[in-house]
Symmetry: C2
Subunit: 208 residues, 2 copies
């Protein structure tokens, strides 16, 4: 009768019992809501949004199909393995809308870089500089990637990317979000770099 989701219970009129939907489920359903797809292609679509290993997705899809959230259709191919195309059912759409309306948990961000910055005072100055320099390189490559994707989006979809009722709008907003956040972190990195190299009274670690 309901779907439990991390303690909170999402209620439905439809008959489905004790299906446990984890956070990943909703990302997978979010991809399939845009366009019916195979498990393999769902993982590719999630590459930048929510990286996941294919081995985790297959059992999830099977469970959601059994629960009536997804419908599967087997496509026979030659030269390639057959594939299963999954589509959201009406219940699947209900589940998604209920999830979006539910309380959003605070994000938990585990960034190795941030953990290293936390402890970089212990390292020699050269290692600190390298840590920041590598991040700057990575940020620049990410910015270039998402700038290109944003361009493609506008070329491919035009004004549809400005309509909140279409998924292109969401992609548009999330690309922009990445870009503004990455650019801001880049500025922060430059500032840290400046503070690291600012002349100070010499001490034990500043030998080079």
């Amino acid at each position: 009768m309901n779907i439990t989701h991390h303690g909170q219970v999402i209620e439905f009129g439809a008959p489905l019992d004790g299906v446990r939907l984890n956070k990943l489920s909703f990302s997978v359903l979010g991809v399939l809501a845009r366009q019916p797809n195979s498990g393999y292609d769902v993982v590719k679509a999630l590459e930048r949004l929510r990286p996941v290993k294919i081995s985790q997705v297959y059992p999830l899809l099977a469970e959601m199909e059994a629960a009536g959230i997804l419908r599967a259709e087997e496509i026979v191919q030659d030269g390639k393995p057959n594939k299963k195309i999954y589509t959201l059912t009406d219940l699947g759409h209900q589940v998604m809308r209920a999830w979006i309306a539910s309380e959003t948990e605070v994000p938990v961000i585990r960034d190795d870089f941030v953990s290293k910055v936390f402890s970089m005072w212990m390292s020699p100055a050269a290692d600190r500089a390298a840590l920041i320099a590598d991040r700057i390189t990575w940020l620049n490559s990410e910015i270039a990637f998402f700038e290109a994707r944003l361009q493609e989006l506008h070329v491919e979809f035009g004004t549809a990317a400005e309509d909140p009722d279409q998924w292109m709008f969401c992609r548009n907003m999330l690309y922009r979000r990445r870009l503004v956040l990455y650019r801001e972190e880049l500025l922060w990195c430059e500032r840290v770099r400046a503070e690291l190299t600012r002349p100070r009274r010499p001490n034990r670690r500043d030998s080079g």
Copy 2:
């Protein structure tokens, strides 16, 4: 002879065999490098940087002590349970410096809010607005929190927070990082909100 860390191997001269240090280990060591502490207090110190449950930390500390990375001292207390204070050994310091100098993995950010924005085109306009409004509220509270912490840091440590050889500098930089990123996301939210409410040609979903 070495420590394996997610495939890559960090080499040492010291004799320690096959100790598996996961990413969490380095966050824990990072806290203990600043000041010797109990497991309980380490978890509190990591609350905002890298949230972790205490039950995961106790076995980790025991392993690292057995490996010679940490040294433990039992403190007898009355009225309260006894506690163990852990301190980094020389090897522990070596391990940390080697980790900071090693390749940094790209961050994996799993943010429920971002996943919801990805699929909000499926939801009614009111739910979309609420999603963004709640994020704005949360961001404002985070900004207030870190502004206060940054103030405290400067009052408590003064110019030490500008010296890259001291841990206060790292805390200073990471507070600033949070603030600039949160403020930028706030601006992004305001922009999304504007785009969501911008008048458009009416269609099936725009009934209220």
